[in-house]
Symmetry: C2
Subunit: 360 residues, 2 copies
């Protein structure tokens, strides 16, 4: 019996076993392919908080009133599969963002670029790095689907089929997260200033993918009814949006020592966050122009301070903080009213507070 705090370690064990089982298959294709597979295994096992598998487990606990009502290993399998989707998302995202490092280590495309240089390959190292990383992300996405269905290209197998309702949620979630990412890059390029668009990205790219669907997966695995599943979806969307809004505030106002990112990083990156959309809508004409001028380009400390002032003085920051409170309160109220064992409610409350940095 796994407890919620041990989900990350249990999921890592599933993933490590899966990578090990697939390695001979890659090696049989050619040793160079097994080496690429090792890059994926390193990437996945090298970090990550396993938030999504933890929500799958929390959802499973909500649906399974007694310990033997369902088999928790199926919840761990689905959680591990989402981590492989996440690996694809991060590997491809790092290409899109031209990032050099992730969790303090070189990103996948940079690792392949280094291989190209070290082995004195011919052609453009950067192009090779991106090409190999695109394919590696594809492999992670394909393996996510194999794992969730209990199959593998290698010898690993789990004979239990994925229950149909979970498969349908799985289909929705993958389209939602990819749709949310497509919308995100489109908003950024279109310099979209609408609050609606910013909320849609949060809802699909973050809230559904990170919280709502994982909770529903777990509940469905435990045979929960539609009413419970819908309650968990609502809670998950509120919680996921609170989580993302908190992240957006930290992305502009956060202390680099705590966030690990440069000061005002979201402004420099040109992210179309709800905080920014609120600021552009609430600020006076000249202030809005000032804000617009400080998006999507390198910024001095004074530029960041000026943008922060507009966001504070216009009331945008206060409005977003209020949204965080409201959404989190709604989620916590929803959790309190769930017709599930007290221990399941406690675990869900614990993780809800943790991801939104709230103590009470």
């Amino acid at each position: 019996m796994v407890t919620i705090a041990h989900v990350p370690a249990a999921v890592d064990a599933v993933l490590a076993e899966y990578f090990d089982a697939n390695r001979p298959t890659l090696d049989a294709i050619y040793p160079a392919v097994a080496e690429a597979g090792d890059v994926l295994a390193d990437f996945v096992l090298g970090g990550g908080k396993r938030v999504r598998p933890t929500f799958v487990f929390a959802g499973w606990q909500c649906g399974a009133p007694t310990a033997d009502a369902a088999d928790e290993t199926l919840a761990l399998r689905v959680g591990a599969a989402i981590e492989l989707i996440q690996a694809c998302a991060l590997i491809h995202d790092d290409i899109l963002d031209r990032s050099d490092t992730r969790r303090g280590r070189p990103t996948a495309h940079r690792r392949f670029e280094t291989v190209h240089v070290e082995r004195a390959f011919v052609g453009d190292p950067a192009h090779f790095g991106v090409s190999a990383a695109i394919l590696l992300g594809d492999l992670a996405l394909a393996w996510a689907d194999d794992l969730v269905h209990g199959i593998a290209p290698g010898r690993w197998t789990d004979p239990r089929p994925l229950p149909r309702p979970v498969g349908e949620l799985w289909a929705r979630m993958r389209t939602e997260v990819l749709g949310g990412q497509l919308l995100d890059i489109t908003n950024e390029s279109a310099a979209d200033e609408s609050i609606t668009a910013a909320y849609r990205v949060m809802e699909y790219k973050t809230a559904a993918y990170t919280v709502a669907r994982p909770l529903q997966f777990g509940a469905a695995l435990a045979g929960a009814d539609d009413a419970l599943s819908e309650s968990l979806h609502r809670i998950g969307i509120d919680l996921g949006i609170a989580f993302q809004l908190r992240d957006d505030v930290l992305g502009v106002f956060g202390d680099p020592a705590e966030t690990g990112k440069p000061s005002g990083d979201d402004l420099v990156e040109g992210k179309r966050t709800a905080l920014l959309a609120e600021g552009l809508q609430r600020a006076s004409g000249p202030d809005a122009e000032l804000l617009r001028a400080n998006i999507g380009r390198p910024l001095s400390d004074d530029d960041v301070a000026a943008a922060r002032s507009v966001l504070t003085d216009s009331g945008a920051l206060a409005a977003v903080e209020q949204q965080i409170e409201d959404r989190l309160d709604a989620a916590l109220d929803g959790i309190d009213r769930l017709p599930v064992p007290a221990s399941a409610r406690d675990d869900l409350t614990w993780i809800a507070r943790r991801i939104t940095h709230r103590q009470r």
Copy 2:
């Protein structure tokens, strides 16, 4: 009852229905996401010979001695799903190869680049194009898995689960094709001259993915036994390699008017084909140097003619032509000896000859 010549049209109908069913889901995320989905639908429905679905159907006919022994629509569903994998492969491949056109139309990343320019988006149009196309390829890959399992993010559903043995073949095939592609770009960058490496790429990137696994999918759907499945795999690998070798010969010696590609295109692209590996191994020292000097760079007509001479005079071309004959003969012999209805053998022979351009 579909006949083998009508498989492409029948598969197109499945795909069109699937795209239609998913459109409202994309539109609910945001209209811009539905527009991206339309690019995918256009891309998939805009061309392609549906070779892989045709082999799935041929395999199904081998396993189903009577018309009602299995439901052919399941074979069409699996065939359509492979076309979505192929869409991902082509969209991502066009990024890797920096191609501007595919089937006479702009590639996906170029289409998104044009959207960026036409709508006066901010930032780098080329980077936006590549970013959106990476995500669109990911969506195609995710949908391939949904479709093969009979689910969709939208309302479309086919309640029949994918039989377990087909799911296991599906897992192997996706890893094989991605592994083959990873090996292909590694060989190209490493300037690998070994014949073994060239054959491995052909075996996994082309033969297994295009012929062998599709035949086995069909047979497994019709409940074929292991012996028949293994025979079909052997036939598929031989046939797939003959098909790829023929393509390699055309890539160097083909008439641009027939191939639709520039003269000596494979040499310019630096493809590490078996033909090239044979040439480098068989040619004298100076001739091999000449060949090496004419790989992976723009070539004049004289350069192409000189490289062709080395490939012909060294006996490399004759050796590859002999391989094509041997592999195709082995495949056709294997088909003749299959314990399946004569009509299934005839159909398989027909498509085998068609893809290798052989009349007799």
